[in-house]
């Protein structure tokens, strides 16, 4: 579904820093591609490059559903069916002082409400539908998201992207700062999304999480891919070796 070839991302503010170098990946429908690695390996930057929001020059070829596309802004990415759940939901994923309804409809307003004039009743229906399937626990759609727990906040973010009807969902540390119970619910949801046909790319620093959810695992080190193998071949030792640059196994 999503195919990237030789993606390179060069930082425009700090010359000389190449955050992502020559990375190629394939994310298939119905599959979870986990990306493991240490902090600073360039995983977040890779997702940003795929989503059109990397602050620098991005080169390389990106194909969605077999067609080559140019992604130069988040709007481009969304238009091609890509969604990004960012690392820091409070800073870049949600507008904390606004309501659940406003946040969850934000990325798909023309589809879910109206191209120019908004229709609250349509928004409420769509929001209820998606948030019910995510088992969000909140008093009402008009609750301010800053009062929600981390898990519920993340569900609002997930709901926001589901309403854009994506083909590819990029997840950056989706369970960071979330309690155990909510974590399990989100794992189940990720599973369900993949099973329903989405291509899921999961970046996580928690090894058990990556090994537990993924069908295939990719490992990055210093901006490059140092490992790629199906999950049944991924032992913690192998993944760590690739992540620290000591091994290089692309199968």
């Amino acid at each position: 579904m999503l195919e990237a070839r030789s993606v390179t991302a060069k930082n425009s503010r700090v010359p000389g820093i190449v955050a992502v170098e020559g990375v190629s990946l394939k994310a298939r429908r119905g599959e979870v591609l986990g990306i493991a690695g240490l902090m600073g390996a360039g995983r977040t930057e890779l997702l940003m490059a795929l989503f059109g929001c990397y602050p620098g020059t991005v080169t390389g070829e990106i194909r969605v559903a077999g067609k080559e596309v140019r992604i130069e802004s988040p709007a481009d990415a969304i238009g091609h069916g890509i969604g990004l759940v960012t690392e820091d939901r409070k800073r870049t994923g949600l507008i904390l002082e606004h309501t659940i309804l406003v946040n969850v409809t934000l990325a798909a307003l023309p589809r879910v409400s109206g191209k120019y004039v908004t229709e609250e009743s349509r928004e409420i229906s769509a929001a209820e539908r998606v948030l019910r399937s995510l088992r969000l626990k909140a008093a009402s759609l008009f609750t301010t998201v800053s009062t929600l727990s981390g898990g519920n906040q993340q569900k609002v973010v997930l709901g926001k992207w589901l309403l854009t009807e994506p083909k590819v969902l990029l997840l950056d540390e989706p369970t960071r700062g979330i309690d155990v119970g909510a974590k399990q619910e989100i794992y189940a949801e990720i599973d369900e999304l993949a099973r329903s046909g989405l291509a899921v790319v999961l970046v996580s620093s928690e090894l058990p999480e990556v090994l537990g959810l993924s069908d295939r695992v990719m490992v990055m080190h210093a901006g490059r891919v140092t490992g790629e193998f199906p999950v049944d071949k991924a032992t913690p030792e192998l993944v760590m070796a690739c992540a620290t640059g000591q091994a290089n196994q692309v199968a």
Binding site: T92, L94, E120
Partner: protein, 361 residues
């Protein structure tokens, strides 16, 4: 809102009732119109987390443009109105583009604009004042709707408003939100209607609803619709609330920000026309410092200069509040310098109280 009523009560007592006399009431509301129209545009810019310090100079230059095309080019009514609004919209778009696309902070762009456009106004007028030549043009600032027309509009307005409230109630029931009972419904319809009727009655006691007030009402209704019921309005709230999150949700920040400046510019053109029409002539100093009144009106009305929060109705009430202070102090012949001290202090106090109140909650 309480402050507004409070101020009105104080001034009525202090001026032995002159404050609320029909003629003064009419004047007060006419004075509110120009600031109010600017405030409606300003609130949308502030919602997006921006600011525009040049609107006073825009009022000057658009008014001057609208009159000069009459004097020098012998344009008629509609072309000159178009000229005024177009000049405002173009300047707004330019300032918006410099802010949104070139990345220059809005504060700086519009501060430069404040100086530059005022200079331009003095330049194209050579320092002279030009009287308005077209009668209909002057009427925009000086005429009234006949009491009959006013009452008819009031009735239509109340009917439309009632329908809207009932529709909202029905949609609340449809979505499992608690619908209002008969008493709640009656209150929600009757209270605003009574207030509107009181205003129209007060206007009709003098000469009818002033045209500037009518224009303000239309602008305020349009502004409320845009900020609450359009995708564009929702995007403005998002951009001001969290620009990064808005951008990552696919919103086009530069375009929406530029549009908000363009709309404010056009509204400054409308305000400039009304101002010039009311005075009867276009002068090089018209509109000086009006931006401060507009910004104060928005902030007193509850807008946050950080962006993401603010309403059109709040801005209008804020404008009414500022105009009431002006009007009341003038009636009591309070010296100009004291008026300025009072207005400045009230602005700081009003916002300080608002922030304190929020913190307590």
């Amino acid at each position: 809102m309480l402050a507004l009523v409070g101020v009105w009560i104080i001034f009525t007592i202090v001026t032995d009732g002159v404050f609320l006399e029909p003629r003064n009431f009419s004047n007060l509301m006419r004075q509110t119109a120009v600031t109010g129209i600017l405030a409606v545009g300003m609130v949308m810019v502030i919602l997006a987390g921006q600011i525009d310090l040049s609107v006073g100079s825009l009022v000057g230059i658009t008014g001057m443009a609208a009159v000069l095309v009459q004097t020098s080019l012998h344009w008629g009514l509609w072309p000159s109105l178009f000229a005024g609004i177009a000049v405002g919209a173009l300047i707004g778009a330019l300032q918006g583009a410099l802010t949104a696309y070139a990345g220059i902070p809005a504060f700086i762009v519009t501060l430069g604009g404040l100086l530059a456009w005022r200079g331009a106004t003095k330049g194209i007028s050579a320092g002279n004042t030009y009287p308005v030549e077209i009668r209909m043009f002057k009427n925009i600032g000086q005429s009234y709707l006949s009491p009959t027309t006013g009452t008819v509009l009031l009735a239509l307005g109340i009917a439309a408003f009632s329908v809207l409230v009932l529709q909202r109630n029905r949609s609340r029931r449809q979505h499992g939100l608690s619908a209002w009972n008969a008493a709640g419904l009656a209150l929600r319809i009757l209270l605003p209607s009574a207030i509107a009727a009181a205003f129209v009655w007060a206007f009709n006691r003098y000469a009818g609803i002033p045209i500037p007030v009518l224009i303000l009402i239309v602008v305020a209704l349009a502004g409320t619709f845009v900020t609450k019921n359009t995708t564009y309005g929702r995007y403005l709230h998002a951009i001001g609330g969290n620009p990064e999150a808005a951008r990552l949700s696919g919103i086009n920040l530069p375009l929406n920000i530029m549009l908000s400046f363009c709309v404010l510019g056009a509204l400054a053109g409308v305000a400039g026309i009304i101002y010039t029409a009311r005075v009867g002539a276009a002068g090089p100093d018209a509109g000086t410092l009006l931006e401060l009144d507009a910004i104060a009106a928005c902030v007193i009305g509850g807008a946050s200069l950080m962006g993401g929060r603010g309403t059109v109705i709040g801005a209008c009430l804020g404008a009414l509040f500022m105009a009431s202070l002006d009007n009341g102090m003038s009636l009591k012949n309070v010296p100009d310098f004291i008026q300025d001290i009072v207005k400045g202090s009230v602005l700081v106090a009003a916002v300080g109280l608002d922030i304190w109140g929020r913190r307590r909650r």
